[in-house]
């Protein structure tokens, strides 16, 4: 803030007023929602669902190929 000139400082005050007005939600709701969301998507996460990693494009499927 020390490097700002007056017009910049006025803009900073306007911005802070706008940011203050944001409707914050209780973290007991938002963080709970996040945990629930992650849990719901985990089955689609190849790193956490070994079934999905079975179709690994970087691992050869069988030991031999028929030429």
């Amino acid at each position: 803030m020390d490097e700002m000139d007056l017009p910049q400082m006025k803009k900073e005050v306007e911005s802070l007023k706008y940011q203050l007005a944001f409707k914050r939600e209780k973290s007991s709701k938002t963080v709970t929602d996040l945990v629930k969301w992650i849990e719901e998507v985990v089955p689609e996460d190849p790193f956490l669902n070994p079934e999905l990693m079975k179709n690994n494009p970087w691992v050869e499927k069988g030991k031999c190929i028929i030429l």
Partner: protein, 338 residues
């Protein structure tokens, strides 16, 4: 009291009010909210491919939306387009300026972009018989730290001149300039719905912006040094940052605050890059100490490490299908792990 003094006092007052508003909604912790969740298992990944081809430090990489192709940028003065499955190089794009710091793949797969100490973002068409420069986006007065396409016609940039900008590629002009950071902008991440984006800067802050009207909607503090890496969760409500202060932090957009920090007493290296698995449960963070640590984002614990690079891990990326993680390093190699 001079007008400047008055303004400063008003600004300080507003910041205090914002902190109070945050405290008022902080009625739980991540620890409490995730208590019933089992810890993530230990993650041990193998290097599936080592992509060799660059002749100098790699600074950036970005996956194409097909989860197969990717672009990497090195200070050897080239962008390389790789087929990650075969490990083959599909294209080599020579750069006018070798001091590249960022690269990006357009969602369509038609274009790539790069930029760095030349202060410009150059857009290339990969689909012409020979790769052609589409536009040089020239208006920033500082280095280009990060760029991300919204489409073939619009791109977002983050610059060392402390601004971010939304460009119309065809006209080569800035449509919107995002002014509010007081330090070099180092990174940006677009929200899944593309209406907002988040930026990280050397002022140790992360800021959420409205893409269309340019307003700074929210500011996230907590880091004590440059924010080098940033990523949205796919839910659009959560963001993770990585910093030179050796920590990563999760910020909840709806509660407007930090909810958990990822740090370790033995970890003394800055975070250079980060990428999330598709659920966001795992975070891959690249550090100056040549490693990439894997974190359980809900429990705040390290669950794995990717060791194999002989120099700083400068970039990490998980493709849209989530099937692997790619790390790029100053040792000039890219590695694919899963």
């Amino acid at each position: 009291m001079g007008e400047m003094e008055q303004m400063k006092k008003e600004a300080d007052g507003l910041k205090t009010q914002i902190e109070a508003a945050r405290k008022a909604v902080a009625d739980t912790t991540m620890s409490a909210a995730s208590a019933a969740v089992a810890p993530a298992p230990r993650v041990q990944l193998k290097t599936r491919r080592t992509l060799k081809g660059h002749l100098a430090k790699i600074y950036a990489m970005h996956w194409a939306t097909d989860s197969r192709l990717m672009v990497s940028a090195s200070q050897d003065g080239k962008l390389l387009i790789w087929d990650s499955h075969s490990g083959n190089k599909i294209n080599a794009v020579p750069l006018k300026s070798s001091w590249v710091m960022t690269c990006s793949y357009a969602p369509s797969g038609n274009l790539v972009a790069s930029g760095g100490l030349d202060n410009m973002c150059t857009v290339y068409n990969l689909k012409t018989p020979v790769v052609k420069t589409v536009k040089e986006l020239d208006a920033h007065t500082g280095y280009l730290a990060c760029c991300r396409f919204l489409s073939d016609s619009e791109i977002l940039t983050a610059s060392g001149d402390t601004t971010c900008a939304l460009w119309d590629i065809e006209s080569g002009k800035q449509k919107t300039v995002f002014l509010n950071h007081v330090g070099d902008c180092m990174c940006l991440s677009l929200s899944p719905d593309m209406n907002t984006f988040i930026s990280g800067a050397c002022d140790s802050l992360a800021k959420l912006w409205d893409v269309r009207d340019g307003t700074c909607k929210q500011t996230f503090q907590g880091h004590t040094s440059d924010v080098n890496a940033i990523s949205f969760f796919h839910n659009g409500n959560t963001v993770i940052t990585g910093s030179d202060d050796c920590t990563c932090k999760m910020f909840d957009l709806r509660a407007d605050q930090e909810v958990i920090s990822y740090q370790d007493a033995q970890l003394n290296a800055g975070v250079t890059s980060l990428a999330l698995s598709v659920s966001g449960r795992l975070m891959f963070a690249g550090y100056d100490d040549f490693n990439c640590n894997i974190w359980d984002t809900l429990k705040g614990e390290k669950v794995g490490v990717l060791s194999g690079h002989d120099n700083r891990v400068s970039c990490t990326g998980v493709p849209p299908d989530g099937m692997c993680v790619c790390t790029g390093s100053w040792d000039s190699f890219l590695k694919i792990w899963n």
